[in-house]
Symmetry: D3
Subunit: 230 residues, 6 copies
């Protein structure tokens, strides 16, 4: 394989390659901010940075991504990363909050594991009912002071803002809501973050990529501040 | 005509064909959920299901669609279905509410009939002023317990969410607002519904079709629940 | 109807309105160059300019448009204008040539009338076999010196050049081929022309509209030259 | 130069041409409503209408546009019009309010001049915190009874509504918010207005142009009412 | 796995599933015409229909698809199906012709195997030099009377006609050229065919899908004729 | 100006900046291959590399770009670079050939200077009449052995291949034609080249950018070969 560029022809191997790439980064004490790509990519990143002690998570998403075997019996796909992460002891479900869950296409199978394992699930109905400030409060309560990962799936946002994604679900929050929630996490003990599921070919206006890049900028500000202690 | 497939080369005949198609459906006691297409299609559906007793209606729309002769003197087009339906005794204007009316291109001619016949018109300004909960309350008051039809024109929603429609008007409600209003109609005495004016070629992102399909899903839940008595 | 703007809500009436519009134009000795729009529009134009003596025609098209009743029994639609024109004595089939006919979706029913009435049909296979120069020669032989109409349906051109049209058929000629054929008609006795079936929403690049406009320019040069005798 | 059509091949000369065009308009007492185009165009318009006494301004925008030399040392570009206008005595910064300022790409250099000169800057965070009604109140307080210009940059609105613009910034207000703010300016002493930065090629859905046109319509209503005294 | 719908989350398993699907089809003596999708899908189809005796092939393509390990050392991806097929004894390279090979991105590694194994490679330069008739002649000479598979990758055609594909290469043949070549294969001993690499999201005009469907229609005519002996 | 990034806010200064950038490149004996952008950019490049002795040129283009003052009296815009280059002694018109000139929007003013100064103009009609091989022959005859610049405007190609450009003209040559012409220039004494007028926002399919990049690759091969003497 050597110096050949790697593209996802073999997903299982990709997972190994991603993990191998992040391990020295984690060892060096770097807090990685990644972008993608399929939400499954968060799993190998967690394998690289959370093996020693499980992390908490603030997940912005329309889907829980805690499903089990599916798509022909596969246990590893974009609907399962967080069940696998809990099973592997990488993710602490009690310190995990999922914000914006919804969707006509979702079955309860997908959220059962979230509930059973003790994750805090904020369905979009509750989001609109309690409002952004209360959601921030709840997120801070759930993650506490422990090491925490932010996983930002752009399909948590309404597809009017981010049509360029693979499994859009209507009726989400706005980009401004998302910015406020991210800013509400200032001072949290962050050990990594990602922005995922940006797929430019589905959005001829280019807006989805702009949203993804701006969310990364917001998160970068959080990470920089955490590092410099300001 | 026989077994030839029918496309709308002759609109007047199309109206007859649509009515003929829905009559046995109505007779069998089926509650139809339809999608389109030009808003005029609601007229022949009402002719099939409301001849015996007029229905009430919750209409989501940027336009009242109660205009009179226009477009060269035509009395039947996408701006007139509900005036015709009232005249033909199919629609009870006192039990009709129209939600989201607005538009720089609209003249007052279009809404005069709505007001004169006794329909409840919620202009977009009032919508934002009183909020979704009060709009639901008002809708339930207007329709009461009588047989009711839901007609959902996707241009009632803001065109940031549904650009793929023929006569977009900016400044509408969100898809989440629409979902909440539909859910607010649980338990109503529903005898039919439609989602109209979805036109995919105008929306290269594909989002409009997704919105239309999800609204149909929301309505389907209402209809199923009504049938099973849950 | 008065001064209301007219749009095609009632197709049969539209035909009358188009004919009425063109009659004084024809009477004034003006040679009209029109653009559309559905190919059926050529029929009322011919009714206005060819009632006294039938015209010949050079038709650029992927379809013969000489079908009979279809689309639910309708006799008037975009697949029938030239059968109707022959039946009404407006179009002389012996002086008519159709260039570029093809298509996986076409049945022989559509071309039967062309052949039986004596039109010269150049299928796309023959077009590529004999080449543009021979096609021009054949067109001039067919139309002779009599009054002739040019009807240019942009779907005669390959849809790589004109994707913005309602019934594209792959494997057509290039825009350059079309320009050469039009220029090959210099000196013909032209009494009218049109460019039809341009539908911009189907072509986000805007190229189809540019092709349509340029073809109108080419025809305008022919008409101007014919008038000034140069 | 005579009657040659003018396009922006030489920007400095364009500024002179725009100013020369608006001068007789201003002299005739006409209140101009313009559309563009690069925000720099507001400067020559102000040169034509505000030389005798400076105007106040309500500016809807994601950017202050009060930067200084940039882009290779240029003092005149789309990021500087309002600093130049203040320096030239055309714009009264004490009577200027800027609504919706934000953006990951903006440096504080751009807003320093706004603050130092005494403009009222409503960042998007404050906008969402105090709400539309308070923003209107504040705008009316700032402009008072003096002559006032409305400059509406469509990038003030969220790019989900107006993706067709050159420097989009996510997290803005809705079109409905904008409509309400404009209507909140009824009765103000308006001497001119513009809607700028609409760029259709960046928005395949066509929605941005519709938003721009509707905002012009809203402003036109304000201007007409002001004139007729109703 | 049972009756769960299968999507390509695990490519290796997909290959098995495809092969399993085609085996009973092949056993029943059916000649399959398939569409896709990644060119790798041809490999499992060949495994199902060519295990007993290798097939010849007419391949329309911009790329030879006879590369070896790549993309991180993978031996199975869209650039390798025909090397694998030769190695597995499914494809007879001496009876294989590849038409339209080109591309600035291609290295000679990809074509080396084609040459070494004895395939006939018609680079696009030769295609334009000798013309469609000679290419047909050469194809018929290569495949002879033995069992033959047609694999039609739409990127063989110029991307002006088929922009909706994953690895477009400019400077290809036209759709008409492709139609003529397919028709030139009448009477060949065909045992299967496919049209691959159609990817609608990359082509907002929809033309690529139309081209793909029409090529399938052309091939279907060949297969039907072969069966009925006409 | 210092280290500020430079964008075209002041076109005249941009010309100076471009020239200043290319001067040390030219001094170092580097043969530049540039991409753009407005065709005017070729002028400052020529100022940097051709001051000592005028160059010949092979220009692929739908327009001669030898117009004079226009667009409001400007002498420097995308329609004038080659008149200016001749006047400044940078371009030898007797060693210049322009290939593909056409367009309904062009006036003869634009080509007069080309003819009067002795350039060889191959209109698109002649191109199709004599064919690619003769055009290559003619180009080599015109440029001879002297230093030569290749300027490739993508609008020379038909807009079915390159819709993403500012002034498309239908009826051009194919990308394959262009590739053959470029390859026909092997061994010429090349001192610089550019590919201009690629504008991705006008082409949602992305094909125009691919065509531009591939043409640069073709030219790069010519330049590399010229350098290495192979």
């Amino acid at each position: 394989m050597g110096d050949t560029p790697v593209v996802p022809m073999n997903m299982l191997k990709s997972l190994d390659l991603i993990e191998a790439f992040y391990k020295p980064i984690a060892k060096a004490g770097v807090v990685p901010l990644s972008c993608g790509g399929d939400h499954l990519m968060t799993l190998p990143i967690m394998r690289a940075i959370a093996r020693e002690r499980p992390v908490g998570m603030v997940q912005f998403d329309a889907h829980t991504d805690t499903g089990d075997a599916g798509y022909g019996g596969e246990r590893l796909h974009h609907g399962t990363p967080f069940r696998r992460a809990v099973e592997e002891g990488l993710l602490d479900p009690k310190r995990t909050i999922q914000i914006g869950i919804r969707g006509a296409r979702a079955s309860s199978d997908y959220s059962d594991f979230s509930h059973e394992s003790g994750m805090r699930v904020i369905y979009i109905e509750e989001f609109f009912e309690i409002g952004v400030d209360k959601v921030i409060e709840e997120a801070r309560r759930v993650i506490g002071d422990g090491p925490t990962y932010i996983s930002f799936d752009v399909d948590g946002i309404d597809p009017a803002y981010t049509p360029g994604t693979g499994t859009p679900e209507i009726g989400g929050y706005t980009t401004h809501d998302a910015q406020r929630m991210l800013r509400g996490l200032r001072g949290a003990n962050l050990v990594g973050a990602d922005v995922v599921e940006v797929s430019p070919p589905f959005d001829p206006s280019g807006n989805t990529a702009l949203v993804g890049a701006t969310m990364m900028y917001e998160i970068l500000c959080l990470l920089a501040e955490a590092r410099t202690g300001k």
